[in-house]
């Protein structure tokens, strides 16, 4: 078992809207070890992105409201930190890359300017010397761009975001993330906005960098293929609840939660003849008034009265936990 780096404990998050309180995250528990790569999987709207943004305190606080829970990073609760303390963490200890690199870069400034500003804003760097001036920072920026395999970094650094392709822009964001040599990298749907061929390249870069620097990585995605490619462990979320948490091998070979099984069944296999695509019937629950227990209840074939109470996590070996009353049953199904 690796030493623990990040632990999200019993996180409850609400959104105050005009129509009422949306209970977005319900008792989320996630732990990430040093150097571990974890994937958070789920469909759009399940709260995985918000969970990640909460780590860095990037969720705007009205209208969002954290009702309870802790986020422990290196044993300090991030939720209780002041803004100044958080600034020490953001970018340097924990860095994030985002889904759409086009909108996440300022179109009016060169990527060089933006990268240099990030470098200069980093409070500490562990493996490289902290640059004192803009020109030193610029040299470092070029080196970072080389590391993310951006072709011709000396020239590209003076280009504007719209002059770069999608893949290149994402590499710039990755370079920004690396600049502070973070211990934890959070990648929020890093390849969703990119072409399939570029996806593979970006994933490879992330994997190589992770190995080289020993960072922990959280990958947020709805694509199980990405998880299989990059992660040691996968956490499945549904409607703001964590439903299954297991090693990659276990998730694919032995999925225990009905939702996870539904997800895996829904992946079409080329070569296999199927009459109909498997779907999980039903839709997301209304978060204004969610069911009291398991939120997957309405769509689950095994559900009954007991599911009105939120199932405790059941453990199957060291690496596998499931939130379902009927996981025993399904594991042998």
């Amino acid at each position: 078992m690796k030493e623990e780096l990040l632990r999200i404990e019993s996180l409850n998050l609400n959104f105050n809207t005009f129509d009422g309180d949306l209970q977005i995250l319900d008792n989320v528990n996630i732990a990430v070890g040093r150097g571990e790569s974890v994937g958070i999987v789920g469909e759009t709207g399940c709260g995985k992105s918000l969970t990640a943004k909460s780590i860095l305190g990037l969720v705007p606080s009205p209208p969002a409201e954290i009702r309870s829970g802790r986020i422990l990073f290196e044993n300090r609760n991030l939720l209780e930190m002041s803004e100044r303390q958080m600034r020490e963490v953001r970018g340097t200890k924990i860095a994030m890359i985002f889904q759409d690199p086009m909108t996440h870069l300022n179109p009016l400034f060169t990527i060089g300017t933006q990268l240099v500003d990030v470098i200069l804003a980093n409070r500490q760097q562990e493996y490289l010397e902290k640059p004192a001036s803009r020109s030193q920072a610029r040299d470092l920026a070029v080196k970072l761009l080389e590391q993310v395999q951006l072709p011709n970094p000396e020239r590209q650094i003076d280009n504007y975001p719209h002059q770069l392709s999608g893949g290149m822009r994402q590499r710039v964001l990755i370079a920004m993330a690396l600049s502070g040599s973070p211990r934890l990298l959070i990648a929020d749907e890093p390849t969703t906005a990119l072409d399939v061929t570029i996806q593979a390249q970006i994933l490879r870069i992330i994997r190589d960098l992770q190995k080289e620097f020993g960072m922990s990585v959280i990958i947020i995605t709805h694509d199980l293929g990405v998880v299989a490619e990059l992660c040691e462990r996968a956490i499945v979320m549904y409607a703001g609840q964590v439903v299954e948490d297991a090693s990659i091998h276990e998730i694919f070979e032995n999925p225990l939660h009905p939702y996870t099984r539904g997800l895996l069944r829904a992946i079409p296999h080329p070569g296999k003849k199927e009459a109909k695509l498997h779907v999980i019937p039903g839709g997301l629950p209304n978060l204004l008034n969610p069911p009291s227990g398991c939120r997957f209840m309405e769509r689950c074939e095994h559900a009954d009265q007991q599911c009105l109470a939120f199932p405790e996590m059941k453990f199957y070996g060291e690496n596998h936990r499931v939130a379902c009353w009927y996981s025993e049953m399904t594991s042998h199904a």
């Binding site: 990037l58 300022n106 500003d117 719209h162």
Partner: protein, 336 residues
Amino acid sequence: MIKFLIKRSLLTLLMLFGLLTITFFISRISPGDPAALAAGPDASAKMIEIIRKEYGLDRPIIEQYLIYVKKVLQGDWGKSLHSTHEVLIDLVVYFPATFELVLVSMSLAIVLGVPMGITAAIFQNRFIDHFIRIISVSGVAIPMFCLGLLLQYFVALQLNLFPLGGQLKMMTDPPEPVTHLILLDSLIEGNLEVFIEALHHISLPALSLSFPALASIIRVNRSEMLETLKQDYIVTARAYSISLFRTVAIYALRNAMLPTLAIIGLRFGWMLGGTVLIESVFDWPGIGLYAVDSVINSDFEPIIGTTIVLGFMFMITNLIIDLVYSYLDPRVRDQI
């Protein structure tokens, strides 16, 4: 960039011809005989005929147009019946005062308006935001001439804090004309006394003239700042602990300034029109006052001349704004 400059300059030139076409058209739509108009109300029938021949008013309309354009380009803008000078000479004499007033007013509007807009955006929905918004909403609604009259009455007359009108006191000698802008010339001459007096005199007119533009700039800047601060790239800046100052004043401001620039351009046009009103209220010796006096005296050529000058000034300003815009927004540069 150079290509862009050339292209836009050519376009401006074309627009100038369009402007001349419109002024020509306007001068021909007046009811009655254009020759009689040009000759003035006291001219005899013979005078009118001489004028008609001289101005080519008996030729077909296309020829008249070409004669007109040629004359304008050669500097013959007609004669003012009232001042008996050449219109172009009159305009050259009166233009600097208007230019100075508009320059000071626009600078005031931008220098005050942009920071106020930013402040209102940062402190959204707090007291300062509401206060600033009231100013900005009222500012567009108050008629400029009313504001001028009000300031004249309360601040100048009652409180005696500012002069009632004019550029300088009656007895004061203007400084050596280098740029013909009194404020600048007095500084160049090192004459601090005259500078302060000129500043004193320009304050109320500039404040009145700038107020609607100030209000507009505050509004658009505030709303654009609010929009910009919601953008994803600002989240990125936050995620990497970039300082608040840099995020707002350097990053967000540039994004917000783009639409603000467009509004500044629009408001400049209204301001040029407004000089007529403000010069009228404060007895400011500019071309606005010249135009109004001309209209009252049924003196037609000066009105056309003023229109050409102010129209051209507006076109040049729009050209400059387009250039600044393309400097700020690299995406536009690549499109050209």
